[in-house]
């Protein structure tokens, strides 16, 4: 018989191998699933993992889908490493989008081409403001940030709905709850003609590098993480726990808000009642899948984007139901949790 035994030291090797193993397990179970559905498993898996990457447009769409997932997950990784359980990135994204949209509506045909910078800044400030409410309530009243940030997500969604139904509704829009489409100056410039990819990609690369340096190399990042994970030790060293709460939430708000701004001033081009299909929530999965590490988040957001898009393609190419996407995500997470066990435990003969 085999039994689990705690390792004296967590296995570094398994830390890296677990996501790969999880992916392999998902592929194996996916194969069984497709066989059960009467589809050719190789062709089906191909639609999920290869077809989306076959041409420039496909690649650009995967990258477009990765942007909000990656930005939110980086913010969340900072929070979770600081022991701040913010699950409201979705709300911060939406309010960031609202603020960016509000700024974009101020643009006119005569605005300078650099106007979009203001739009992105407004988005970051909007997200920060929303996250600041959670930080304030946690700091002043010790309110549970899990509940506060989650509930604020719904409030943020309603704020958006109010604005597109009311003050920001397109006057020529037959009362449909949409803002007018933004002037060109407010839109983030396209990177390549013929795709929907914008300069947002370049911004994300810079943010990614900054996040990595902040978390792994900077003293400020170190203070933040110590303050969160060992408050007593942090106090002994003169680090403030309050600082950790504020800094991590504001950073996450800024990144999520930027994600919202890049959506509305990118592919959407107007404010609509739904600016995110749940990126902020999916980013929680991405952050954990990516080991709360910037590089891991890139890998994880890539996989998530692929599964989303592959799920759509599997519908139109293979006639599979949409629920397949959810099943794949679920399998991946379950497999990862299982594989993670072996970071701290090992199998031994009893």
């Amino acid at each position: 018989m085999l039994r689990l035994e705690a390792r004296p030291v967590p296995s570094k090797l398994m830390g890296y191998a677990a996501p790969v193993i999880a992916l392999a397990i998902t592929v194996v179970f996916g194969t069984l699933l497709f066989l059960a559905l009467g589809k050719n498993p190789a062709a089906s898996l191909r639609v999920f993992f290869v077809t989306p990457l076959e041409n420039a447009r496909g690649l650009s769409e995967v990258a477009l889908k990765m942007i909000p997932l990656l930005l939110c997950s980086l913010g969340l990784a900072i929070c979770y490493r600081s022991n701040v359980w913010n699950i409201g990135a979705e709300g911060q994204l939406v309010v960031g989008g609202v603020a960016a949209g509000g700024m974009a509506l101020l643009a006119s045909p005569d605005s300078t081409r650099a106007f979009f910078v203001l739009v992105l800044l407004a988005g970051m400030l909007g997200g920060m403001a929303w996250a600041a409410i959670t930080a304030l309530l946690r700091d002043k009243f010790n309110a549970n940030e899990i509940l506060v940030s989650l509930m604020l997500t719904y409030v943020g969604g309603l704020l958006l709905i109010y604005l597109v139904n009311g003050p920001w509704k397109d006057p020529k829009g037959f009362n449909f709850p949409y803002s007018k489409t933004f002037d060109a100056a407010a839109m983030v410039p396209k990177l390549f003609a013929g795709t929907r990819l914008s300069w947002g990609v370049l911004i994300v690369v810079v943010v990614l590098a900054a996040a990595w340096i902040f978390l792994s190399k900077s003293k400020a990042g170190f203070r933040l993480q110590v303050a969160g994970q060992a408050p007593l030790a942090a106090r002994f060293a003169g680090f403030s726990a309050r600082e950790g709460i504020w800094a991590s939430l504001l950073l996450c708000g800024a990144l999520s808000g930027l994600a919202g701004a890049l959506e509305v001033a990118g592919p959407l081009g107007q404010l609509t009642p739904q600016i995110s299909p749940g990126y902020g929530f999916a980013a929680i999965i991405v952050a954990w899948l990516g080991r709360l590490h910037p590089g891991g988040c890139v890998f994880a957001s890539f996989i998530m984007a692929l599964i989303y898009i592959g799920g759509e393609l599997s519908q139109s190419r293979l006639g599979l139901p949409a629920a397949i996407t959810g099943v794949f995500q679920g399998m991946l997470l379950l497999a990862l949790l299982t594989a993670d066990t072996f970071i701290h435990y090992r199998l031994r003969k009893a």
Binding site: N40, F49, E61, F176, E263, P267, T272, I275, A322
Partner: protein
């Protein structure tokens, strides 16, 4: 121990590599399934027979799941019926659960680049995405449901759901004991406000004391919110409910709480047989057949089609056993009148719920009037959200 760990890892890696290789290999063969040896002789004979024309590829984008039991389900019934009608002349596919966000544009563009020549976008939120994609694919025809913007190769279709709502209202007016009707509404656009008004006008035509309470949920498909809104309406005294949302949750809630309700978009009898007074349904099949025929015959042109009972697109069906015979007859008679064009739901005198007259006596509301309805008629409580 170390060996075990190593072999585990090795197995996993081998599996991953093997599968990836398998994927790449099989994938290359995939586009030519005819290469199977058993088919080879047939393929050789093929040139003798007259070459069959390629089927017209048609794609549908759905906002909800095909199993929503309402709006999307009704569209998919229409798709299936069209498939039956045209057989191998067409080939349809669909993508369900396409959010009204930046994703819609990707899905619709992919449909067009996959060789679909006719594309149906079945929710309002696909209007801007379709408008962005349409100019890139001049040879593809785009059909958008319930919108107001069009292009050279993009036209709009819609249905007169209010006709069904009116007839449902007449039945509700007869069946209510509290004289309070409840309406679970989705997004405050003219289409939905119209249906609330038609439901109320129908009820008042047989029972002037009727009032309608409305709850907006700001979603098309959200069974949880739909059920909550229905509960709130029932707790507020409503005993007959109608909804302009996409799932059967309102009917199910009425069934649970011992009240009455209607099915909407498709026949929902099975979701709440004790509560089900009838279903105001949309039959998309006639329009889908027409649009496909237009595309097949090369007669497709830019126009707006707004179909109702007359064209067989709207009906009220499966009236429940609790509906008395005279009420059933009344409903059937009204349907016949609407079909023959003898009755217009929007007939003056029509009063807004602010007491102002909207249509004078003997005036009739035309399609322009109907498209802009953003007020409640007398008897509906509250204010249309955000309408100042």
């Amino acid at each position: 121990m170390l060996n075990l760990r190593r072999s585990l890892l090795l197995t996993a890696m081998l599996a991953a590599i093997g599968l990836t290789a398998g994927l790449a290999g099989c994938g290359k063969e995939e586009p030519k399934p005819a290469a199977k040896p058993a088919d080879a002789p047939k393929a050789a004979e093929a040139p003798k027979a007259a070459p069959k024309p390629e089927p017209l590829k048609i794609a549908f984008a759905y906002v909800g799941p095909v199993g929503d039991g309402g709006w999307t389900y009704a569209h998919d019934l229409g798709r299936k019926e069209a498939e039956k009608e045209f057989g191998d002349k067409i080939k349809t596919s669909f993508v369900e659960n396409v959010p009204e966000s930046a994703d819609a544009e990707r899905v619709i563009r992919d449909m067009a680049s996959q060789g679909n020549k006719l594309i149906f976008g079945t929710t309002f939120g696909y209007m801007e995405p379709m408008l962005k994609v349409a100019p890139e694919f001049k040879d593809v025809k785009f059909e958008h449901a319930t919108g107001y913007k069009s292009a050279d190769n993009m036209r709009v279709y819609d249905v007169r759901a209010y006709e069904g709502a009116y007839v449902a209202g007449m039945i509700a007016g007869k069946m209510t004991k509290t004289n309070t009707l409840g309406f679970v509404a989705s997004i405050p656009i003219p289409e939905v406000v119209r249906n609330i008004n038609a439901f109320t006008l129908g009820a008042q035509s047989v029972n002037p004391k009727v009032k309608t309470k409305v709850v907006w949920i700001n979603k098309w498909f959200d069974p949880g919110k739909e059920a909550e809104a229905a509960t709130a309406l029932i707790n507020g005294g409503a005993d007959v409910l109608l909804q302009n949302t996409d799932s059967p949750a309102v009917l199910q809630t009425a069934e649970k709480m011992g009240k009455l309700a209607f099915g909407w978009d498709s026949n929902m009898t099975s979701y709440g047989p004790k509560a089900h007074l009838g279903s105001a349904i949309i039959n998309w099949a006639p329009y889908y057949k027409k649009a496909i025929k237009d595309a097949l015959d090369g007669t497709w042109k830019g126009e707006t089609n707004w179909w109702g009972m007359k064209e067989g697109a709207i009906d009220v069906v499966a009236l429940g056993d609790m509906v008395p015979a005279d009420v059933k007859k009344m409903a059937e008679d009204k349907k016949a009148e609407i079909k023959e064009g003898k009755f217009n739901v929007w007939s003056g005198p029509l009063m807004g719920n602010d007491g102002k007259e909207v249509l004078a006596k003997d005036a009739k509301g035309d399609d322009k009037f109907i498209s802009g309805i953003m007020f409640y008629v007398k008897g509906v409580e509250g204010k249309v959200p955000s309408n100042k």
